[in-house]
């Protein structure tokens, strides 16, 4: 029986595929996975999955017949709208341009 082994190199990191091995059952697979992917302390955690349980998806694209630009960065024109909004706000407050004094975030401006 073939088992796929996934390993985590450090806490908090994503699991990555390490490789596969042959074992009589899950208990052996666990012992062997520990030997193959942990004997030099190169992993902090392992996942073992029987190969048949892994479903492979070859074309991981969701049909995109109509434009779904709202799922992408280029679907948003934050910059232009932000400029307009800031100008409007400045005008109504009657204050001079507050570029330096007022906190604002450009994080979403793409």
């Amino acid at each position: 029986m073939i088992y796929e082994v996934f390993r985590q190199e450090r806490e908090g990191q994503p699991f990555q595929h390490g490789g596969s091995l042959e074992a009589p059952d899950l208990a052996f697979a666990e012992a062997y996975a520990r030997e193959f992917y942990g004997r030099r302390n190169e992993s902090v955690a392992l996942w073992i999955v029987p190969r048949e349980a892994v479903r492979e998806v070859d074309d991981p694209y969701v049909a995109d017949v109509f434009d779904r630009d709202y799922r992408r960065v280029d679907g948003y024109s934050i910059k232009v709208k932000l400029k307009e909004a800031r100008e409007l706000a400045a005008k109504s407050a009657g204050a001079p341009s507050a570029d330096e004094s007022r906190p604002h975030s450009d994080a979403e401006s793409g």
Partner: protein
Amino acid sequence: MNEAELQAYLQDGGQVETGDPMPEAYRKALIKFIEMHGNSELMGVLPEREWILRAPTLQRKLALTSKVQDEVGHAQLIYRVVEDLGKPREACLDDLVAGKTKFHNVFHYPTKTWGDVGVIAWLVDAAAIISQKALLKCSYAPYARIMKKICWEESFHILHGRDVVLAMMTGTEEQRELVQEALDRWWGPLMQFHGNPIPADDDPMFQWRIKSQANEDARQQFLDGYVPQVWELGLTLPDPALRKGEDGVWEYTEPDWDELKHVVTGHGPATERRLGFRRMSREETAWVRRAVLAPAA
């Protein structure tokens, strides 16, 4: 993709994954190349395993056992790749013990003293790591990926080998002689290790970008990295022509390519004994595989 299109795609840096459709010619070339690598790891275990039992200190015994363990692990990783390409591990081992497939030249030679243990772990592994590092760029991605783990582990072996050699070189006159004598015997096979310089255009392994490092480039890299390390210990190499030219290219006496061919086709001094030993131990343990690995009825 047809063959020509795939070759163009691969030459452009494209890679292939396990489940991807591939032309039969590419699959066959992959199996041939990778299977020989797996065979070499597995047969490479035998010359060193004898010395686990004779290691002269507990630390050396542990280090050597661990090195041989790594090589067995590499054979496992590599045969798994071959298996996913369509040739089961058992079929690989059947062909190996029947002498139908090849393994690297250096593993056809006997080991005679503890000096061999140092020279093999240091220089044979150094030569091997040069080829294996180049394979990190192989067009077949699952093979390229395992090479990362393999190269990482090989780096420990070189350390172990160099340490064994240094301990002997700083020891008694007899110990220094053991190293020199081993080096003299291994130099020929080491110079043949990377193969004769064949034009890349003629080599299907290059066309499919299974390999991308020319044999002579690998040898030059080996000489450049290790000859100075050998010489600085006061050791000599049995080739009067060996020198680094002004252009930075190493010059050497033409290696014995007939010997290489003769040896890798199964006629090395230890070939028959090693294959026989592997055949015997495989037969003796066949019942275990039948009993525990066979799919549940």
